[in-house]
Structure formats: structure tokens, C-alpha cells
């Protein structure tokens, strides 16, 4: 029976085998752990669908295609052709040969675990000796220099061009990191990324919040989403080509969270349509999920822009990198007790500095309007429904309107003005 590589999410075409639970050719019971895969987001353990003898087609640390055959489970132990693969031990041979990689006979007999043959198709013993030739020298600089780009145009391969001269150890990237690198490469911001900063003066919140006592992440998320959904729709998109850009039809703020080796961006769907309260809830829940590593697939879907908050660290400057297919990322640092710095990186192919500056100006005003520098006047209230200013702001409105009427100036809350 053929066992296929499971498809865990819509993003991954390839997953990595991180653990083979039983030895090749041995017997496994139905339901026992068979193979552990690592996707770009998480790890998955596959159980054996039936009892029988396992014949793995791949080794640990191999990348395999989703829905392809990863192993078979049969009635009898599989026959092993020693002549064909030389010494089978722990080494790479069997899997790579099946993937099309060609080994010289001498190379097959070399037993090394730490050499990266990623991207290579023809493996000689010399290549396996970490590029050392007989004299022990690593591929000499001049051999590499002699090879020029147009030589490699005639070749297909991936891999590192300028190997440093000293010793170095090769460390494989996790799937997650690879996914991140891919994601960074997609936006290809590169020379087209520009960053503009602005300072935000906070103070005492007009509507206090326990969770966000010392952070303005919620306010940034709330105000920026609203703006991107209304008058700054043109920043809620991504670069496609010289002749076109894409504009998202909804606004989904991405909240970037980082702890050692766990950088993740979780998204809040339709963040422009949520109230401040709802957003605060959403962000808190994301933080909890992050700590528990308990995200759902939906959480990890792509956002339309990202907010990355380093205000809890001591840094005073950051230049965030655009994430995935986005044109805007808002980075937050803290300058002092009451001053935050916002650094917005944007894709210059989608918009320009002046526009982003305008966005920031607006954002600053709106965020700062959530703070008061003095005590809040408790007597401010709607003249029509008596709702207090505090309650009004708690609803997420910036304040009340001062209306001119026949009978003089009156305060009116939003609901009263717009109707229920």
C-alpha cells in the first residue's frame, strides 16, 4: 500500500521529513506513528494506516512533494539491492538517486551527514569532501573566479557563489525559515523599499485599557486599518509589474510576533470593520495563541499589511522589511516613557513618500486623539442622550461633535447625530 504525503495547508507544495519513527524494512502496527513532517507552519505526525513492513522511499531531512508517495507498507520485508546503492547505512544515496541526483560509485561509499548537496545533481567524492580536493584545499578561489556567470548560464543549479575561505559549518534551515525567506523574496522590496518615521506622543488613555497599558499596538491597528479601508485604500495593495499593482478588496492587519526562532505573522480578518474593543480582543488572543503555538490555518493566512512591534525592547530605530505581497509595514519602537516612534516601510513602486507621509500625519493625529494630556472633563456629554465623553470614546469614536444649532452650541454623540 502506498502512503502519500499529506496536504496540511494550501500554501505548501513541499514538506520536509523530520523523523522516521521505525527503521526501514521493519514491522509497524496500524495506528502507530510512522513519519513526522514539517510544513512551513508546523509539524505533523502521520500514523500508519495499516500493519505491515515499511519501505521508506526517503530519508530524514528530505524534502518531499505533497501528495507524492513517501513510503509503502507491504506484507513482506522489502528486498534491498546492496549492489545498486553500495552501503545503505545512514547516507543520502537511496533517496537522492530516486530524486534524480547521480552519485559516482566512490561518492556513494562516503558516509557523511553534514554535507549539503542541496541543488546539486552530480555528486563526486570530491564534492562530498566539502569541496576539498586531494591536497585538502577547499575549492580554490581562483577556480571559482575562473568560472564566470556566462558559464553558469549554460548550467542549471542553485547554490552559493562565493564560498569564504576559512572553515565553516553548514546548518540546514528549518522549513519555517525557508518559508520566511521565500516570503521575503516574493515582495522583493529590496531597492524599492523606503522608510519614513514619525513620533507619536502618548499619555493617559482617555479610555483606559488594561491589556494595552504600555503599548499602542491596538490603536495603531485600529486607526491604520480604518484609514486603509477608507481614504488610504491605495496603500492596501502590492506590486505586480511595471504596468499594474493589485489592490486588496479587504483590509487584514498582520500582527507580527517574535520570540526566539518563532517569528510569525498572524492576521486579523477585516480589521477595518472591527471596533477598537474587538481589535483589542483579537490581538490579545493572537498573543496567547502565539505563546501556545496554537494557531489555526486561518490565522496564518496572508495579511494585507503588517504591524511589527518592538516597543518592548530598548531599540530606538528600526527599518522593517515588507512581508509577502504587501506594500506597507508599520514598525513601532519606544523612545521614552511617553513617546513612540513609528517607522513605516513602503514599496515605492506602489506609492510615494509624500503619500505615506500624509498617511503618517493622519495616523499620528488619530492615535494621539486617544490620549489626553490633562484630566478628562467629566462634564462633557451628549446634550441629547447624556452619554459621557468617556463612554463615547470607549466605543472607539474620537470624540463628540460640537454642533451649531438655533439654540446655541451643543455636543452630540455619533449615534445621536447619525441615528441608531
Amino acid at each position: 500500500m502506498e502512503v502519500l504525503v499529506p496536504k496540511e495547508n494550501n500554501n505548501d507544495n513541499m514538506v520536509m521529513i523530520t523523523r522516521l519513527y521505525v527503521a526501514d524494512g521493519t514491522y509497524i502496527e496500524k495506528g502507530a506513528d510512522l513519519i513526522e513532517f514539517e510544513t512551513s507552519k508546523t509539524a505533523v505526525v502521520l500514523q500508519s494506516p495499516l500493519s505491515g513492513y515499511v519501505s521508506y522511499l526517503y530519508q530524514e531531512e528530505s524534502e518531499v512533494e505533497v501528495n507524492s508517495v513517501v513510503c509503502t507498507i507491504g506484507d513482506a520485508p522489502p528486498k534491498i539491492n546492496l549492489e545498486e546503492v553500495g552501503l545503505i547505512s545512514d547516507r543520502v544515496a537511496k533517496n537522492s538517486i530516486q530524486n534524480g541526483v547521480i552519485f559516482s560509485k566512490k561518492a556513494i561509499q562516503i558516509n557523511k551527514d553534514d554535507v549539503d548537496i542541496e541543488g546539486k545533481w552530480w555528486i563526486t567524492s570530491k564534492i562530498l569532501s566539502k569541496g576539498r580536493d586531494k591536497s585538502g584545499a577547499i575549492f580554490t578561489d581562483d577556480k571559482i573566479q575562473k568560472s564566470t556567470l556566462d558559464q553558469d548560464d549554460i548550467r542549471q543549479s542553485s547554490g552559493n557563489y562565493n564560498l569564504p575561505e576559512g572553515g565553516y559549518k553548514l546548518v540546514k534551515n528549518t522549513m519555517r525559515k525557508r518559508s520566511e525567506i521565500n516570503s521575503l523574496s516574493i515582495s522583493g522590496g529590496g531597492p524599492f523599499q523606503s522608510t519614513i518615521g514619525i513620533d507619536i506622543h502618548s499619555g493617559k488613555r482617555i479610555v483606559p485599557s488594561m491589556m494595552f497599558d504600555n503599548s499602542i499596538q491596538d490603536l495603531i491597528c485600529y486607526e491604520s486599518s480604518k484609514m486603509l479601508g477608507n481614504m488610504f485604500k491605495d496603500l492596501n495593495g502590492f506590486y505586480i509589474s511595471n504596468s499594474k499593482i493589485g489592490l486588496y478588496s479587504n483590509v487584514c492587519a498582520g500582527i507580527s510576533l517574535d520570540s526566539l526562532n518563532k517569528l510569525t505573522v498572524a492576521r486579523i480578518q477585516d480589521s477595518d470593520k472591527k471596533t477598537l474593543g474587538e481589535l483589542q480582543q483579537a490581538i490579545s488572543s493572537i498573543i496567547i495563541k502565539f505563546e501556545d503555538s496554537d494557531f489555526s490555518a486561518d490565522d496564518l493566512k496572508a495579511s494585507t499589511y503588517t504591524i511589527t512591534d518592538l516597543s518592548t525592547s530598548g531599540v530606538s530605530y528600526m527599518r522593517p522589511l515588507l512581508n509577502g505581497s504587501e506594500a506597507l509595514i508599520i514598525g513601532v519602537v519606544r523612545r521614552s516613557e511617553s513617546v513612540f516612534g513609528l517607522y513605516v516601510s513602503f514599496d515605492h513602486r506602489v506609492t510615494e513618500g509624500l503619500r505615506v507621509a500624509s498617511f503618517l500625519d493622519n495616523l499620528k493625529k488619530r492615535i494621539e486623539s486617544h490620549f489626553s494630556t490633562g484630566p478628562v472633563s467629566a462634564t462633557d456629554s451628549c446634550d441629547f442622550c447624556m452619554k459621557s465623553l468617556e463612554a463615547e470614546m470607549h466605543l472607539g469614536n474620537r470624540g463628540m461633535l460640537l454642533m451649531s444649532t438655533i439654540s446655541g452650541q451643543k455636543s452630540i454623540c455619533r449615534n445621536c447625530y447619525e441615528g441608531w
Binding site: 559516482s104 577556480k143 549554460i154 543549479s157 547554490g159
Partner: protein
């Protein structure tokens, strides 16, 4: 020492000749009057020859000369019968023929003086003259087949012209003569051979070196035979006229045997003949007697004065052919590094070649070879169907490799691209004289006035068990011949661009095919795993099979051609696996001149190169490639691989051990990898 038997034969011959002289009909005044111009030409020839001898004796002339004093009337009488557009091929004793045909006596003197104003810029000198309608060469009989080709090309052009070949009776010892006689008769060509029969070949009397009869030889080849002599002037002119007319009207070859006597030495001062004998012929020489009479005295004086005056001028002239002008040849040396994907149609090499030649024939080319007509279609069936499709352009010949090569050269002189097939590469040695002494030299020795853009194609190589004389790869014998380019076909590369490229060349070329490779389907990219196939340099370019890798990871560059190129391509992975060497393969099409630029950069990066050829390696192609690489890349480690240096045996296993196989390649690569 001449044997008594030969001595007696010779004396008989001399006696018979003397009889002829004494019984020759005296020349009538009327006749002399009607042929004044002709006789003046004869006197002119004699005067020029004497002037040249004097210049030699006074040390003012360089090289050698073979004067025709005593024989002048042969050239004069024959030329009187020729018309515009007729050709003459001649030999070392060609001055008389040349002056009679072209009248360019002063250019001839300049030529021997080595002046740029000479017939061939002073380069060919006495024996190597060229003009439209005249060609001479110093090798005995080798221009006869070329004459056959010239005749044939006239027929193709529907011109009523013919070709006259002058030989001495000593030339009747050369095989070229008989091959050409057979060929011209078989093709019914208007070829006239004029044999100047003067009883001596250099120092060897005819009695010693000749048996049978000249008439018998001519007639046994189906040639019409005429004879005359240079003492019976009237008979001479009328016979020449009749002979030439016969050939022209009946489109059939004619042999004209003219008895005559050379009054001077073979060249200069080398005369062992009996003095009395020479005296006799001198006294009875017609021109000598006529010069004593008043009739031609004015003309003779005028001629002498003209010659003297010209010689004086010429001696003070200094312009010679510049070295820099002389040195350039017609070989293709330009380097193109244009890279294109190798994209071969899925057909066998033989079919691809057939269709390539089909195109050439469609463009008016000719193919010459043994058994190439339909329905046979050639020994390897390459020309199958082409004879029917292009009647008259596929010329199937007798078994005469030398003659058909010369024939091809003659055809090509008329501007018709001609492909000569040598059935098996082993037989190309029969054609080497034509290649080396004619095709190769025309361009330079005739001061760049004439090229021979013939292509000689032949299948080389073993692997079929055909044995020692049907399996050789004789590349090394034909590489490095001046102005002759050499190419090799391979089933790695679709050949039509190469074949049409050959048509565009001006120099002669040799195309090596492979009998074993003929049957291979052209290399398909799909069959190559993790290898890119490209071609560098266009039509005569080099294929590159590069494994998917970084260029600095390649250990060895392998350079091959022809069938072995295909063998390595087919066994790429196996050779890699066994040898533990990562290599890339260049399959070269242009063997000579070598275009190092196609693979120089790759060799520089890899640092090691293996050059593979099917013939034995010593003194072979690989050695030349190695030398050329060493000049640009002194640090490169070079190894060459070829067959074992023994004749190719027939039994299969033994044969494959002698020839290069994958095991040899693996070992060679391993040796290179070990070396540092």
C-alpha cells in the same frame, strides 16, 4: 647500368626515330607561308628557352628549368587546333605549351626571375604555371584526372570545349595516367592526351623503362590513336587538327603520340646521352634548318631583340610577391562563441546527411564516387534516391580513388561544388597525391588565382569487424595539409548546417564520417538526464554537453569528435559513476584548423583535459589540440586517448579492445583525477 636487352631495345628505337627523321617529307614553301605565325611562335619558344638557360648559367635565375628545345612544334601544332575555352594541362616541360597557348612569353621570363609580374607572381616558377585555359604542375601525370574533370564540367555547361594533357612517354609509368585514361573513356570525354615521345625520361632510356606499345596501351583503353612527329611538319599540323577535331566532334578521348627529340639536357647540364646521337638530331632539327634560311631571319632577329630588351628591363625590376600577401590561406579560422540549444530532429544520421546533400544537389552541386548511383545508393546507402532525383549530378565512377579525386578537383575549378566520396577512409591514401599536390597547392602556387573548393568525404572507423583495411581512422594522415580544412560529422549534431558550410568554403576540405555512427538516431535532449546540450559557434560549431553543476565543480573537460563523441554522450552517466570525475563533453566538428576558443574557457576552469580520437593517438589530432591548449593555458593537465597503435583486427572482442571504449575513457579520467 642499363641491361644489354634494354640497350638493344633503345638502339632500335633510336634507329627507328632516325629513319623517321630522314624520311620526313620536306616542308613546302606554301605550307610555311600559311603557317608563318605558328613557326614564328616556335622560334619564339626556342629563343625564350635559350635566354632562360643563359640567365641560369650567369647565375641570374633561381630554381630549375626543363627546356623543350627541339620539341617546340608539338605545342604549336596542337594549339593551332584548339579554340577559345579549351584547356591544357601540362607538366614540368611546359614552357612551349604555355607560350603556344597564351603567348605570354615575357610574363614567363618574369615568372622564372621570381618577379611579381610573372605568370604566378614568381611563386610557382618554371613548372607551376596557371592562366585561364592552362595549368601545369611538376608531378608526373597528376593533372590528368583533373583534366578529365575539366572535360566533364564543359559537358555539364554544354560547351563544346575539350582538354589537352601533355605528357612525356616516361609519364606512362604513372598510375594516374591509366586511371585517367580509363575514366575519360568510361565517361566518353573529349580528352586529348599528347605524348611527347622523345625516347628518354630524364636519364632513363625508353628501352629500359617501357614495355609494350604506346598504341597498344591507348587502344586497349578505348582511345582513338594518332601519331606524327616534329620533323614532318605538314603531317604534324594536319594530324593534330584531325585528332582534336575527332575528340571534339565525337566526344571521345584521343591519344596523340608525337615523336620528337629534346636537344638539351633534361634540366640543366644533366645529359648522359650519346653525343653523336644528339648531334644527329640537332643537325636535322627542322627549326634549326629553317633558322639558317632567310625566310625567318628577320622574325628571329626581332624576337631576339625583344627578348633581350625585356630581359634587361626585367633584371632591373625588383618587385616580388610580398610575404605578408603570400602567407594568408583560405582556411576557416574565425571564432564564433554564439551558443544555441542543441535541438536535433529524431532521425538517423544517415538520413540527415542524405537530406543535407539533397539540398546541396538542389543548389547545383555534384557528387562523385564509387557505386553511388541508384538503385544501389552507395556502400552505406547515403546517396540512395539522389541519383534518380538529380540525374546527371550523381557521378558513379570506376574504382580509382586518385582519379576521382582529381576529377572532383577539375569539376570544382569550373565553380561547381563537388563532393567526392572515398568509399572507405582506408582508401583515402590513394588520393593523397591529388589532395597534397593539387588541391592543397593550387591557391598558393598559382598566386591565389585559382582555388579548388572540392570536398572529399569518407567514412572512417572500426567497430564492424571489417578488418585492417576497412576500419582505419586515418585522420592524422590528412590533418595539417596546407589550405585543406578537415571536419568530422557526429550524430550528436544535426549535420545540415555543416554540409552547407562546406559549400561556402573556398578552400578544399575533407569531411570525415563514421560508418558506425551512420545508423544512430541523432542525439535527443530528452535522453540526456541532468545534462544541457548546446552548440557553440554555429554551422561548424562544437557541441557542449554540460552536466547540471557549478562550473568550478567540473573536474575534466573531455574533447572528442565523431562517433566517439556520441559514445561518450550515450554513456555519460556510466562513465561519471565509474570514474568519479565530473566532466563536460565537447564534440568538435572542425578538426583543422582547431578553434581553441570554443573550449578554452572551460579548460581553464577545470584545469584538466582529456582529448579523445578514434585513430591511434601518437602524432595525432589530440597532440595538436594539446599543443594549442598548452600555448594559451600552460598549467593545464592534458591527456590524450586513442586506439592502440596496431592495425584493427576483425574479431569483435579483440577489435573493441584495440579501439577506444568506455573502459578506456573511465581509466583515462581516473588517471587524470589522480594526477596533480
Amino acid at each position: 647500368m642499363i641491361s644489354p636487352a634494354s640497350r638493344s631495345i633503345q638502339s632500335t628505337l633510336v634507329e627507328q626515330l632516325k629513319e623517321r627523321v630522314l624520311s620526313a617529307k620536306p616542308v613546302s614553301q606554301q605550307f610555311l607561308k600559311s603557317k608563318t605565325k605558328a613557326f614564328e611562335t616556335a622560334f619564339l619558344i626556342r629563343a625564350v628557352e635559350n635566354a632562360l638557360l643563359e640567365l641560369f648559367s650567369t647565375g641570374k635565375m633561381n630554381g630549375t628549368v626543363h627546356t623543350c628545345v627541339g620539341q617546340e612544334l608539338t605545342g604549336v601544332a596542337v594549339c593551332a587546333a584548339l579554340k577559345e575555352g579549351d584547356w591544357i594541362t601540362s607538366n614540368h616541360r611546359c614552357h612551349g605549351h604555355f607560350i603556344a597557348k597564351t603567348g605570354r612569353w615575357s610574363d614567363l621570363i618574369d615568372e622564372l626571375l621570381g618577379l611579381k609580374s610573372g605568370v604566378c607572381g614568381g611563386i610557382g616558377s618554371s613548372q607551376h604555371l596557371f592562366d585561364q585555359g592552362f595549368i601545369s604542375n611538376g608531378t608526373q601525370g597528376s593533372l590528368l584526372p583533373v583534366a578529365s574533370g575539366l572535360c566533364y564540367s564543359n559537358i555539364c555547361a554544354k560547351k563544346n570545349n575539350l582538354c589537352v594533357s601533355f605528357i612525356g612517354e616516361g609519364t606512362l609509368g604513372e598510375g594516374n595516367v591509366y586511371e585517367a585514361m580509363n575514366l575519360s573513356a568510361a565517361f566518353s570525354l573529349p580528352h586529348v592526351i599528347v605524348c611527347e615521345n622523345n625516347l628518354y625520361s630524364q636519364s632513363t632510356p625508353q628501352g629500359e623503362s617501357f614495355r609494350g606499345s604506346i598504341k597498344g596501351r591507348a587502344e586497349s583503353f578505348g582511345w582513338k590513336y594518332y601519331e606524327s612527329d616534329t620533323w614532318s611538319a605538314e603531317d604534324l599540323f594536319s594530324t593534330c587538327n584531325e585528332a582534336v577535331a575527332y575528340a571534339r566532334e565525337n566526344q571521345t578521348p584521343v591519344f596523340l603520340n608525337l615523336y620528337t627529340y629534346r636537344l638539351n639536357a633534361h634540366s640543366k647540364g644533366d645529359d648522359d646521352r650519346c653525343k653523336d646521337e644528339i648531334d644527329f638530331f640537332f643537325k636535322n632539327d627542322l627549326l634549326q634548318r629553317l633558322s639558317l634560311s632567310k625566310q625567318f631571319s628577320t622574325a628571329i632577329e626581332r624576337i631576339d631583340n625583344d627578348i633581350k630588351a625585356h630581359v634587361e628591363r626585367a633584371l632591373s625590376a625588383i618587385e616580388i610577391f610580398e610575404f605578408s600577401d603570400y602567407i594568408g590561406d583560405q582556411l576557416p579560422r574565425s571564432v564564433s562563441l554564439k551558443v544555441e540549444k542543441l535541438d536535433n530532429p529524431k532521425i538517423k544520421l544517415i538520413k540527415a546527411l542524405r537530406s543535407a546533400f539533397d539540398s546541396e544537389l538542389g543548389g547545383g552541386a555534384y557528387m562523385v564516387g564509387e557505386d553511388i548511383h541508384d538503385p544501389y545508393g552507395g556502400a552505406f546507402k547515403l546517396t540512395l534516391g539522389l541519383d534518380e532525383k538529380y540525374p546527371g549530378q550523381i557521378i558513379s565512377t570506376p574504382i580509382s580513388e586518385a582519379a576521382i579525386t582529381g576529377f572532383g578537383i577539375g569539376m570544382s575549378m569550373s565553380g561547381r561544388k563537388t563532393f567526392v566520396e572515398i568509399m572507405f577512409g582506408d582508401f583515402i591514401v590513394n588520393a593523397i597525391d591529388q589532395i597534397v599536390n593539387n588541391a592543397s597547392k593550387f591557391f598558393h602556387m598559382y598566386a591565389k588565382q585559382q582555388s579548388a573548393n572540392v570536398t572529399i568525404r569518407t567514412p572512417m572507423g572500426g567497430g564492424r569487424g571489417y578488418g585492417p583495411t576497412h576500419s582505419q581512422s586515418l585522420e592524422k594522415l590528412i590533418l595539417g595539409i596546407n589550405n585543406v580544412a578537415v571536419f568530422a560529422v557526429s550524430s550528436v549534431i544535426e549535420p545540415s548546417n555543416l554540409v552547407s558550410y562546406l559549400s561556402s568554403l573556398e578552400c578544399p576540405s575533407i569531411l570525415i564520417e563514421s560508418k558506425v555512427d551512420y545508423g544512430a538516431t541523432l542525439l535527443q535532449q530528452n535522453n540526456l538526464k541532468a545534462i544541457d546540450a548546446n552548440i557553440i559557434g554555429g554551422a561548424a560549431g562544437t557541441a557542449l554537453l554540460s552536466p547540471w553543476s557549478k562550473s568550478y565543480e567540473v573536474d575534466v573537460v573531455v574533447i572528442a569528435y565523431g562517433h566517439l563523441g556520441r559514445l561518450i554522450a550515450d554513456n555519460f552517466q556510466k562513465i561519471f559513476e565509474e570514474s568519479d570525475a565530473l566532466f563536460e563533453l565537447f564534440v568538435v566538428q572542425q578538426l583543422s584548423p582547431i578553434i581553441v576558443g570554443h573550449f578554452e574557457k572551460n579548460v581553464r576552469i577545470a584545469g584538466k583535459v582529456l582529448i579523445v580520437e578514434e585513430g591511434s593517438a601518437d602524432f595525432g589530432w589530440g597532440s595538436e589540440v594539446a599543443y594549442q591548449l598548452s600555448q594559451v593555458l600552460p598549467d593545464v593537465l592534458i591527456k590524450r586517448l586513442g586506439a592502440k597503435p596496431v592495425p584493427i583486427p576483425s574479431p569483435r572482442k579483440l577489435e573493441s579492445e584495440v579501439l577506444v571504449d568506455t573502459k578506456d575513457l573511465i581509466n583515462a579520467l581516473q588517471d587524470l583525477m589522480r594526477a596533480n
